[in-house]
């Protein structure tokens, strides 16, 4: 057998992944691979590895489908130590992030998390990231592994003139995610994890003081921790940072721990998860889970040439705040979109650019997945009107799903389109993202 799509230097030359998720697009082939602090744990668990952004990370342990289903029905544990952690501290930390990033980070509360974008002056996306407020003047910015140095460099550069320090903590920080409907009970079952609020409550024999929703007497702090909020904790006496965030479309937690204690935490989580159906899960299932949840992946749905509104992220940039990098470009794009005639008047007609493509979700029938880079056609059309950025046979739904950029006139829900799947055009239909939404309890 042989490869029909794409390149992946992890696979033998004749079988290859078309999905850049599992392909390192940036590091040179000769760059030494970086190993996770949990590498030995993964080897012992029988993981298969892939090169991801220069890191040797588990792609699957046994079956990526079984891992996917486990996260949907019980829980999965992921090693995300390749992610980049950048600490931003100082009196002007909030003001600095408001300038460096697209959102108003100074407005988030202590313990709160917010999804944001790092933009170029042209409004393109350098990275998508999650920002946590860990103190009044202390923020944690988590960037994609593939954009570690681009994001760090931009933050350092933009910090000029602000009373702030930007520190790369990636080498000393491991990240473990526990995702799935049983995630809360699993994290609560780890004896070594202690929450500050927990200790305070025990010491006082009463519920811990907590802004907003204080835990009920006897309740665990994680019972009431809301989605996109976080808590400081300790594990075996070391600092542990626990956030109710994730990239799977399920309830779940992300635990930031010093690398020296990562293996111990992983093993305790696995032990606590045993009665709850927890399985170790690799990057292959992480990708199919995020895709079902309609979450964009940098390098696929997001890139330097993508503006936030095209990706359906028009609400992430906050134009109500002061100046920030990319603001002028976003305003110009918004003005052009609102009044295309005026924009055309000011531009040479020969240079008039077609309307920017927009991100849509597509569903098909049968079992054949549309994959990244496949062309999309209007019914009976000769020229492509769009291109697939991510696609898979949805393990949860059983039919093909894809995210794609299409000409906006073909972006309305229920528009029928055709995707060229290796020479055969198959019918797909535009739907509203996400493909999968978990049932809330």
């Amino acid at each position: 057998m042989t490869d029909s799509a794409g390149l992946n230097d992890d696979l033998p030359p004749t079988i290859s992944s078309p999905d850049a998720t599992l392909v390192d697009a940036t590091a040179t082939p000769l760059a030494p691979l970086v190993f996770s602090p949990l590498h030995d744990v993964h080897v012992a668990a029988g993981a298969s590895f892939t090169d991801f952004a220069g890191w040797q990370m588990p792609v699957r342990y046994s079956s990526d489908l079984a891992e996917h289903h486990a996260v949907r029905s019980s829980a999965g544990i992921f090693d995300l130590s390749h992610m980049a952690e950048v600490r931003v501290q100082g009196p002007e930390a909030g003001a600095f992030l408001d300038y460096a990033l697209a959102g108003r980070l100074s407005a988030i509360a202590l313990g709160q998390a917010k999804y944001s974008l790092l933009l170029t002056e042209q409004g393109g996306i350098v990275d998508d990231l999650v920002v946590y407020r860990r103190g009044e003047t202390d923020f944690l910015v988590v960037a994609n592994a593939g954009n570690h140095f681009e994001a760090l460099e931009a933050l350092v550069e933009r910090a000029a003139g602000f009373d702030v320090s930007v520190t790369d903590e990636s080498d000393t920080t491991a990240l473990i995610a526990v995702q799935g409907p049983n995630a809360r009970r699993i994290v609560q079952g780890v004896p070594g994890i202690r929450f500050a609020a927990d200790d305070a409550a025990r010491a006082a024999g009463e519920p811990a003081p907590d802004a907003g929703a204080g835990p009920l007497p006897g309740a665990h702090p994680l019972d009431t921790l809301k989605y996109y909020w976080s808590l400081d904790a300790t594990f075996a006496g070391e600092n542990l940072f626990v956030a109710r965030t994730g990239y799977t479309g399920e309830d779940g937690f992300e635990l930031y721990v010093p690398v020296a204690h990562a293996a111990a935490l992983w093993n305790e989580l696995v032990a606590a998860g045993e009665p709850f159906g927890l399985v170790p899960a690799g990057l292959a299932s992480r990708d199919t889970l995020r895709l079902e949840a309609g979450m964009p992946l940098y390098g696929h749905e997001l890139g330097l040439n993508t503006m936030p509104a095209q990706a359906g992220l028009g609400r992430v940039p906050n134009l109500g705040k002061g100046d920030f990098v990319g603001r002028a470009a976003l305003e110009a794009a918004a003005a052009a979109a609102a009044d295309p005639a005026a924009a055309a008047d000011t531009a040479d007609a020969s240079q008039a650019t077609p309307a920017a493509p927009v991100l849509v979700g597509l569903v098909g029938e049968g079992k054949r997945a549309a994959r990244a880079d496949y062309d999309i056609y209007a019914e009976g059309g000769e020229n492509p009107i769009g291109v697939v950025t991510s696609g898979v046979l949805s393990p949860t739904l059983g039919h093909p799903i894809a995210m794609a950029y299409v000409d906006p006139q073909f972006a309305d829900v229920d528009t029928e389109l055709a995707i060229d799947i290796r020479g055969k055009r198959l019918a797909f239909r535009v739907i509203t993202l996400p493909f999968y939404r978990r049932k809330r309890d």
Partner: protein
């Protein structure tokens, strides 16, 4: 237990089991992908195979094997005519992962001339080289 010495292999990670001509039946070859290939693909979720009667030419693409992450093309390892495809594996593609040398076979073809194929030892050596290069 698979008796690997009874199998032949290709550098495209396929296995071939030869059944010599008997009275009234031409020589045939049963074809599948190796456990190494199945493992590298990950969970197979879709298999597209040629129907009985289709003529195939050595080296031509005759089918597809898709996992959640990858697409693999099935190359004909011989010139011949498809006698039978494994419908069970079309209905249950996971057989390619669970039993690549048995229930997960893909097609059986009648062949006219047999090309050069690899022995198990030669295929193992090829895998060693591929792993070493990564």
């Amino acid at each position: 237990m698979t008796d690997f010495d009874q199998l032949h292999f290709t550098s495209e990670h396929e296995w071939v089991r030869l059944e010599p001509a008997t009275d009234g039946a031409a020589a045939s070859a049963t074809i599948g992908i190796t456990a190494y290939a199945a493992d590298k693909l990950g969970d197979v979720v879709y298999v597209d195979l040629p129907d009985a009667g289709v003529e195939i030419a050595d080296g031509a693409v005759v089918g597809e094997i898709e996992s959640t992450k990858s697409v693999g093309e099935l190359f004909a390892p011989v010139d011949g005519t498809v006698l039978e495809k494994n419908s069970a594996v079309e209905d249950a593609p996971e057989l390619v992962n669970s039993d690549p040398y048995g229930e997960g076979w893909l097609i059986r073809v009648e062949y006219t001339e047999l090309p050069e194929l690899l022995s198990y030892a030669a295929y193992q050596a090829l895998l060693g080289d591929e792993e070493a290069s990564h």
